[in-house]
Amino acid sequence: MTADEESTDALPEDVAELIGRPQYPQTASFAVERSFTDNTLAATANGNPLYWDEAVAEELTNGMTALPTTLSLWMRPHYWEPGATGEQVALKVHFDLKERFGLPEAVMTDNTLTFHEPVRPGDVISHAQVLRSVSGPKTTKLGTGRFWVIDIEYRNQRDELVGVESYTGFGYRREDA
C-alpha cells in the first residue's frame, strides 16, 4: 500500500513532470528561537537537560540546540502575516496534489525524519519540496484517493544539511461525501 510500489506511467503528464523536481525553495521568515523548542518540550513534558541546562548543552553540543523533531517547525509559515493572501500552508506540494486530484481530505500516513547537523538558535533554515511518487487510485477505510511521497530537505544559512523529512500522504474523498 505504499506509493513507491506504483508506477508513474499512468499519472497525468503535468503531475509526472513534477516527480523529482525541487519545488517551492523557501527560506524561513524568522530565525530559530529557543522559546519554540521550549514549547515543544513543555507540550511533551520532556525534561532532557540537553535542552534545559546550558552547561549540559555546552558540554555535549557546544551550546544550545533545537530538539531534532522540531525540524519542520522552522519552515512552517505564520498563520497570517502582512501581505499574505489566503491560508498560509506548509507542505504546499501536498495541498497542490489535493487540489489537482480533487481530493478534499488528506492524512499523513508515514513520516521519516533523518537528522544531520544540529539546528541552533539563530539559524535561518531553508528548504525545498520534492515530489517522489504518486500512486494510482486506492480505497481505504477513509475513502478513495491517492498516496504520495514528498521529501523535504532542510539546510541552514551555511548550506549545511540539517535534516531530511519524507512524508507519505493520502488524499481522499469520503465515501459518504
Partner: protein, 175 residues
Amino acid sequence: MAAMKLGDVSVGDTMDDLVVDVTPTTVVLGALASRDWRPMHHDHKFATERNGVRDIFLNTPNQAAWIERFITDWTGPRGRLGQMTFRMRDSVFPGDTMTFSGSVTAVGADDTGCGWVELDITLTATASEPTGNQSAEPRVATTCSARVAVPTSDDDNPWARRGDQWQPASEQRTR
C-alpha cells in the same frame, strides 16, 4: 537520566513504558507548539464533521516529539537521534491513554565507530470508554522504527560527530 553506553544494550531489551493521559490541552498544546494551525487539531466541529473522526487528534510532528522524548528518556542526553520512521495507523484523541513501549532490534557500530541502537516503538491508544464506533480496546495508533546513537565509552559523545563522521540514515532506508 542514566548515562547509557552501547555495551549496556542488547537485542531484545525493552524500554520502560511511558503512559500519558491525553486531554484536549495535550492535542492543542502539541499542535501549536509545532506551529500546526490546521483546524482538525483544535476545532472539534471541523474534526468530527469534515474529517469524520470522533474528536480533534494529535498531529504528526507532536507525535514525533513524544517519541523523541520516550527515546531520550531511555538513552539519557548523550543519545543522539539519527532517524525515525513512523506510521500512523489510527488517531489519538482526547480521552485516550497513550502507552509508548519499545524494544531493541539491533545494536552495533558503523564504519566510523559510531554506536547505534535500533528500536521498534509502538504507541498504543486506549479510550476511557466506548464512543460511537470506537471501542475501548487498546489499539495500535502509531508504530516507529528509530535509530539512535549512544556512546561507545565514557569518553565518547555522538553529538561531537560532524560531516562524514555522522551517518544518521540506516543503509536500507537511504534513498
